[in-house]
Amino acid sequence: MGPKLDFSVVFDALPALLWGCVGTFQLALSGMALALAIGIGGVLTRNSRRAPVRLATITFIEIIRNTPFLVQIFFLFFALPGLGVKLDPTQTAILALGLNGGAYAIEIIRGGVQSIPKGQTEAGLALGLHKGQVFRLIILTPALRAIFPALTGQFIMLTLTSSICSSVAAYELTSVAQRIESDTFRSFEVYFTITGMYLAMSWILMVGFAAIARRQFNYPTR
């Protein structure tokens, strides 16, 4: 018995799948924005002079990096209502992606900040810039440029990880595909197609990030 492939159900479901792609982009981009915010804020708390703040940040990073995303999102999904936080599955997924991506972003951005020579801070302060300005203009911008490939690589991974959010029924491509699969029983055809869609999405993100890098960091280093 040879394999019988029938992609017609996939063609019929194409609009739904493309909307699923939009859902994945929305989920992933929101998650990235939150991760970037946590990443930048986390660098400050990770380097804080107060030991408890520093320790709390390190604990957060280590817990996130050493447990599976699936367990993290289940935990959030069940723990948040207990804390009185009412979020729908998609919002829970964004929070989970943001926390997960944020933990990695802190370590990546911190590496970039450490690569900036100390003299640069001192030079900025000597020029009369505020501490905030020094951090934003003289430390963060060159640091972000240095770590941009690593950070965006992590963000693309986050987009792929977002497929796991289907397990709490967030609105994204994989959960759309699961619905179509259970209606049509064409499991292989559906998953094969959306695997191609994920590949296309990570390619689009790669090209997009490269364009941002050319625009934003296009200044001479010396």
């Binding site: 280590e62 792929l160 695997t195």
Partner: protein, 217 residues
């Protein structure tokens, strides 16, 4: 069924843990073997082999692991190969791990100074001896921190077998959570077990990296 979370439930989680560890070992062994071929193809002189390896790595790194598991799982059934669930997911994890390990080892092979290869060639060593005795022993040493670090990713990744329905630690957690109605406690314990498994590896990887960084200076 409405039980509380007690010793039998914890034992059930540990039964799942056994499968998580087994799956991880299988994927690491299989992924290591295939990954070595990927790394060699990626650094081969033949442009065709190199391009094939680049494509292989790009596909597996550019799509979700969950989709890879689904495609392998349902694809095997479609071509009439009936495998137990654990074997099907093990194949999926092996393919995924081979792309990531292949890319890590590719980087390490390329990090070696070109003179190593040239010196080996000048000594009349053929490809096989050159790789086995000169290049790979050094490259795998350089790749040690990243390889151990990847092991953490791999262990965490095996949790996705739960979505396919295979009972490992994460799926065992779901089952216990459904019977005890204590999801926060159960997933907290499941997370803690993963942490105990992964954290030492993370620390070891970081220590190896620090040691290499110090040696480079």
């Amino acid at each position: 069924m409405n039980q509380t979370f007690g010793l039998p439930e914890f034992g059930f989680l540990l039964g799942g843990l056994k499968w998580t560890v087994l799956l991880s070992l299988l994927a690491f062994a299989g992924g290591g073997a295939v990954g070595m071929l990927v790394a060699l193809a990626r650094t081969a002189e033949s442009a065709l082999l190199r391009r094939l390896a680049i494509g292989y790595i790009a596909v597996f790194q550019g799509t979700p692991l969950l989709m890879q598991l689904f495609v392998v799982y349902y694809g095997l059934g479609l071509v009439g190969i009936q495998l137990p669930a654990w074997a099907a997911v093990a194949i999926g994890f092996t393919l995924n791990a081979s792309a990531f390990l292949g890319d890590i080892w590719r980087g390490a092979i390329q990090a070696l100074p070109r003179g190593q290869t040239e010196a080996a060639q000048a000594l009349g060593l053929h490809y096989r001896a050159r790789m086995r005795d000169i290049i790979l022993p050094q490259a795998l040493r350089i790749a040690q921190p990243a390889t151990v670090g990847y092991l953490v990713q791999l262990i965490k990744g095996t949790s996705l077998a739960a979505i396919v329905g295979f009972i490992e630690l994460a799926r065992a957690g779901q089952i216990v959570s459904n019977t005890t109605f204590e999801p926060i406690l159960v997933f907290g314990v499941v997370g803690a077990i993963y942490f105990v498994l992964c954290w030492p590896l993370s620390l070891y990887s970081a220590r190896l990296e620090a040691r290499f960084a110090a040696a480079m200076r």
